[in-house]
């Protein structure tokens, strides 16, 4: 394990930096992860050897770019166990994927009086698009609330998802608390009423094996940058029959069949939903990142991250000055820990930790309604990746202990 970790960390140049004369401890992985040199090198090679506009050219570089782009699509398909590569649409991030679903799918599905169900845990990106649809269509947005543990109870699901529900859009793993939601239960329940289920996989796809078929979901979204790939590339997965019904979201080059002055017909899936020049290098980066993850093995990644999380949870539970949010049971959560230090605003905590080289996030984590629900203005969040270590957690905890003193409290 020791050696394995040393090897792994060598793959990530950013991890061996000094920040403020301290070794960087990067615990902001839920925001974005660092990139292994395999991904960085793949991009460099792409620029040096390939780089052309795919799908449109008869020349060598264009053919290569097309191959790379479509290989990336197939790699994503396998990774999430989708049936067909037509079900994989490349977008710029999870947020765009959700907006496509809101405006090109839900706007045609939801009618006045219908209900859309989300949870109070949602990231703004999985909330604002539904507020828009609800407003424009005269539908109602309903929230699944949490029990004390941060979990969603069966009774909550059963009472909120009803025959009025047309759509459930829910996060798999909360970026703010780390909680993992009971997706299979929700899909089974939603499908009873014929409602469609969208999974926000931004936090789960990077950290657990995903089988869209087993989960029973209709759509899923995620972002490359949270899973070792570059920013600027995201994915929208949808069941082929459903994507087929959808009208295009962006209109322009690449997504057309015939174009007349006053009329145009559109290409088949997946191209119908990919307008303009696509981010080929982003797709290549995502493919390379997935290959990297597969090489380590998702099960190993999950085991390492679960181990780090329970180690950190235990240490933090032992600190009197720390208030923890989210499930106490590390089985119900991913590698995200939200907490506060008594009497200290999370921004001060984050700045002080930063001075020790420890990068954590402070704020509402794009989940203002959740913060309001928990009656806290903000939290401090430490989120781990498989490349983090227990030694880093030890140092982080030691640094945390100094925070109150910096702010003039006895301890």
């Amino acid at each position: 394990m020791q050696n394995f970790m040393q090897d792994i960390r060598k793959d990530f140049p950013a991890l061996s930096q000094q920040i403020n004369e301290k070794s960087l401890i990067y615990f902001d992985n839920a925001a974005t992860t660092h990139k292994p040199k395999q991904v960085i090198d793949a991009l460099t090679t792409y620029y040096e050897k390939f780089n052309a506009n795919p799908h449109r050219g008869a020349h060598y570089l264009s053919i290569k770019s097309t191959e790379i782009y479509e290989d990336a699509r197939e790699t994503v398909r396998k990774f999430i166990h989708a049936k067909s590569s037509k079900e994989i649409i490349f977008t710029k991030n999870a947020t765009e994927s959700l907006n496509i679903l809101a405006f090109s799918y839900a706007m045609n599905l939801v009618e006045e009086g219908d209900e859309i169900v989300v949870s109070i845990l949602e990231h703004h990106s999985n909330l604002l698009p539904w507020q828009q649809v609800a407003k424009l269509k005269g539908a109602t947005l309903k929230f699944l609330y949490l029990n004390k543990d941060g979990g969603i109870k069966d009774t909550e699901i059963e009472s909120k998802i009803t025959k009025k529900t047309k759509l459930v859009s829910i996060t798999h793993m909360s970026n703010a608390l780390g909680n993992i939601n009971p997706i299979e239960k929700i899909t089974t329940y939603a499908h009873q009423y014929g409602a469609k289920v969208i999974l926000d996989g931004a936090q789960s796809v990077p950290h657990m094996t995903i089988d869209v078929g087993k989960l029973g979901i209709d759509f899923m979204v995620f972002s490359g940058h949270k899973m070792l790939a570059p920013m600027g590339i995201g994915v929208l997965y949808g069941k082929e029959a459903l994507l087929k019904e959808m009208k295009p979201f962006l209109f322009g080059g690449n997504m057309i069949e015939y174009v007349y002055e006053d009329y145009a017909s559109f290409a088949e899936l997946p191209f119908k939903l990919e307008a303009g020049t696509q981010n080929v290098e982003g797709a290549l980066g995502l493919m390379t990142a997935i290959n990297y993850i597969n090489e380590i093995g998702m099960e190993k990644i999950q085991a390492i991250e679960a181990d780090l999380t329970s180690y950190a949870l235990e240490k933090l539970t032992n600190l009197d000055e720390v208030v923890l949010y989210g499930s106490k049971n590390s089985k119900d959560r991913g590698a995200v820990i939200s907490f506060n230090i008594k009497d200290v605003h999370p921004h001060d905590t984050a700045s002080i930790l930063d001075s020790y080289g420890v990068a954590v996030r402070a704020g509402h984590h794009c989940a203002q309604p959740l913060m309001r629900y928990l009656e806290i203005p903000a939290t401090t969040r430490a989120s781990f990746s498989f490349y983090n270590t227990k030694e880093e957690i030890d140092f982080f905890v030691e640094s945390l202990k100094k925070v109150r003193r910096w702010l003039g409290y006895g301890s």
Binding site: H347, D348, S351, P377, W406, L407, G408
Partner: protein, 140 residues
């Protein structure tokens, strides 16, 4: 980055149990300033008597830096004219942006000079200026 210069005695004093953290009865002006990206939300209350700020106070939530900055601001503007207060705000913002660097000019900021180095902590600049922007908006 020198944390000592940020979390100094003076700033800590003002951020905890500040004598300005209270409510004024019947304020003539009450203005809410917020920093959505952090969740900071501060309400500034003023009692003006013919252009003079007779009393000022604040309430709300914020980090140590935003609370200290608010409290120090309040000490500074109490018993000053509106015009003097606005001038202090401009000087303070100028200092933070490193546009005003002349020491003599900065002297009028007194305790607020403690924030001179906040730009070394770019993420916290917003916290330090929140109350000052709020005052400016409320007076204008």
């Amino acid at each position: 980055m020198d944390l000592n210069s940020i979390y100094s005695e003076l700033i800590l004093e003002h951020s905890q149990n500040s004598h300005n953290y209270r409510r004024i009865d019947a304020p003539t002006l009450s203005h809410k300033g917020h920093n959505p990206s952090c969740g900071d939300e501060i309400t500034l209350q003023l009692k003006l008597e013919s252009e003079i700020i007779k009393d000022a106070a604040f309430s709300g939530v914020g980090c140590a830096i935003s609370k200290a900055s608010t409290s120090i601001l309040i000490d500074l503007i109490t018993d000053k004219t509106k015009q003097e207060a606005l001038n202090l705000v401009d000087t303070f913002i100028g200092m933070i942006k490193r546009e005003v660097t002349n020491e003599e000019e900065l002297e009028i900021l007194e305790d607020a000079l403690a924030f001179q180095n906040i730009s070394n902590l770019p993420a916290r600049v917003k916290c330090a200026v929140l109350a000052w922007h709020t005052l400016k908006k409320s007076l204008e």
